[in-house]
């Protein structure tokens, strides 16, 4: 066994062990499993949310985009910051409703707010359809990272099933608390890896980040301002994209569950205050991609820029360390995604749609069984069609973003009706799907999902005004 392989193996097994340990002596009921008993303090919530936000996309995708597209990648730093500002005002109210009515999931919120079980089933179906490709992407990213980091010794066909078993194990035993504890390991490793590589790579090749930018500004100045090396990602695209993704950020079903896990609304507000700091290391990730642009021109796949540059710059054992950080970086979001998708299927689709009388314990049993089923579905996709779902992932973000108008309006405008919410979301998802699959994205220089969001909000308000006021539920 090479040192690189030993490091990857050791870290991944240790992380899963911590995840399983986190759930010891915790009586497992739906409340503890799905939202960690609503007992997370500031530190654990921060690790969990940061753990979900920094996915393999951040590692490979952002550096890959910086490599192949340049400036448009800056949007990654912006949209998270907008999302945290929104969350400062929005999440405490969502949390208070969750606490008051014992909500576990995002569809629970819709059922409670609009008094409609059918709306809950609809939201759950959109949620699961959006979560699956996201999960598949995590597994595919993990396979890629481990394969490169182990110098081909462990192929994706071995790494992905191994991560599958370990992740299922700690999700099954510990629920969300397991993910939060593994996220601690993940965040520390990830920041260390990004810090070392992000400072080291430009320093070794150019003598620092500043000189690297100077070289780049002389050689390819257009790469550093919008639209970078793209034709369609100008300032209007960046502005509409950050508004769309900033709005959609906390509309992911798993982010609702994380919000519910907080001990108090004050913990949520303080978390929102410090979260933007977590966006700053992305600057270093961009720097790695831009360094690769200068040092390694002509890579066929931009997503390989980060790993290839590390491979060229550092000894093999260090690549193992980056691989280990990358593997855990995939496992944490994967665990939260699979946990959420399973709960949505068991509680909000199966029970709400077919077995209204099912007990909490039987919902928990079914959720835990669904963990294996959902993971297996994502595994098959990741192994058989590694690229087929990329389009669906883009649509996934467009899809969950369409929850935003209904959620916000329901909190600030008492006239919002369930008919309005349903019509708005359906219209938004329809417009997004037509534009994205019809290859009309971006349209008029704007992100298609943003246009869909505007249609959605207008339809929600119009239909709400036309339909009957809901009975006082909130």
């Amino acid at each position: 066994m090479t040192p690189a392989l030993a490091i990857i193996f050791g870290v991944v097994v240790l992380a899963a062990g911590v995840g399983i340990w986190a759930g010891r002596r915790l009586p497992m009921n739906l409340e503890n499993w799905t939202v960690g008993g609503r007992r997370f303090g500031l530190l654990l919530l921060w690790f969990l949310m940061a753990g979900e936000v920094y996915t393999t996309f951040t590692f490979l995708g952002a550096s890959g985009w910086a490599y192949s597209r340049g400036a448009p990648t800056y949007y990654v730093m912006i949209y998270g910051t907008l999302a945290y500002a929104i969350s400062f005002f929005l999440l405490p109210e969502i949390w208070r409703r969750g606490k008051r009515f014992g909500l576990h999931t995002q569809p629970d919120f819709f059922v409670q707010t609009f008094g409609s079980r059918a709306l809950g089933v609809f939201v759950a179906l959109v949620g699961v359809a959006s979560l699956l490709p996201y999960l598949q992407l995590q597994l595919a990213g993990l396979g890629l990272i481990v394969e490169v980091a182990s110098a081909g010794a462990v192929g994706a066909g071995v790494a992905i099933p191994a991560a599958f078993v370990l992740t299922c194990a700690f999700v099954f035993t510990s629920g969300l608390r397991g993910s939060a504890w593994v996220a601690i390991i993940k965040d520390v490793l990830m920041i260390a890896a990004v810090g070392i590589v992000g400072i080291g790579v430009p320093a070794i090749h150019f003598g620092g980040l500043g000189p690297m930018f100077k070289t780049l500004a002389a050689r390819a100045p257009q790469h550093l301002v919008f639209p970078g090396s793209t034709a369609s990602m100008g300032v209007a695209w960046v502005m509409s994209t950050v508004l769309l993704t900033g709005a959609g950020f906390y509309m992911w079903p798993h982010m609702f569950a994380s919000a519910y896990s907080a001990r108090s609304d004050s913990v949520i507000r303080r978390n929102a205050i410090i979260m933007p700091f977590y966006q700053l290391p992305i600057l270093l990730v961009l720097g790695v991609g831009l360094t690769a642009f200068l040092v390694l021109p002509g890579l066929a796949n931009g997503d390989m820029a980060f790993l290839t540059l590390v491979q060229k710059t550092y000894p093999a054992w260090f690549l193992g360390f980056v691989g280990a950080a990358g593997a855990v970086t995939a496992m944490v979001p994967a665990s939260v995604l699979v946990l959420t998708a399973s709960t949505l299927i068991a509680k909000n689709i199966y029970r709400a749609g077919f077995r209204p009388g099912a007990s909490e314990q039987s919902v928990l049993r079914l959720s835990r069984a669904m963990v294996v089923v959902v993971m297996a579905a994502a595994l098959v996709f990741a192994l058989v069609f590694p690229n087929a779902l990329v389009n669906l992932l883009l649509l996934g973000y467009d899809g969950v973003s369409q929850f935003f108008p209904a959620v916000v309006l329901s909190l600030v405008w008492k006239r919002t009706t369930k008919a309005g919410a349903f019509a708005g979301m359906a219209a938004g998802i329809g417009v997004a799907a037509v534009l994205v699959f019809g290859k009309r994205d971006p349209l008029w220089g704007l992100n298609a999902g943003f246009i869909a969001l505007g249609v959605n909000a207008a339809v929600t308000v119009a239909v709400s005004l036309m339909s009957k006021r809901r009975s006082a539920h909130a």
Binding site: A71, Y74, M77, I78, T81, L82, Y84, A85, I86, F88, F89, G208, L209, G210, P211, F213, K214, A217, P221, L224, V225, F226, V235, V238, M239, V242, L243, R269, R270, A272, I273, I274, M275, P276, F277, Q279, L280, L283, L286
Partner: protein, 73 residues
């Protein structure tokens, strides 16, 4: 809406003004600041200052809530 809440929302709008509305004016290579192209420096600056805006928004909202508690009989 309470005064504190209204001011807090204004502070919450800071990243939307600086990182969305102002982008067309900040989209330039020079001047280089701290070794970064201007647009990237601008983004990093306001990402780093947003926690400060939210911190003061939090203080304003807390003051509102403290007043609420004193009003209770």
């Amino acid at each position: 809406m309470r005064k504190g809440r209204r001011r807090a929302l204004l502070l919450g709008a800071v990243p939307f003004v600086t990182l969305v509305l102002a982008l067309p004016f900040a989209n330039r290579l020079r001047p280089t600041v701290l070794g970064l192209p201007f647009i990237l420096f601008w983004i990093v600056l306001w990402v780093a200052l947003t926690p400060l805006a939210l911190f003061f928004a939090d203080r304003l909202e807390r003051r509102d809530r403290a007043v609420d508690r004193e009003d209770e009989p």
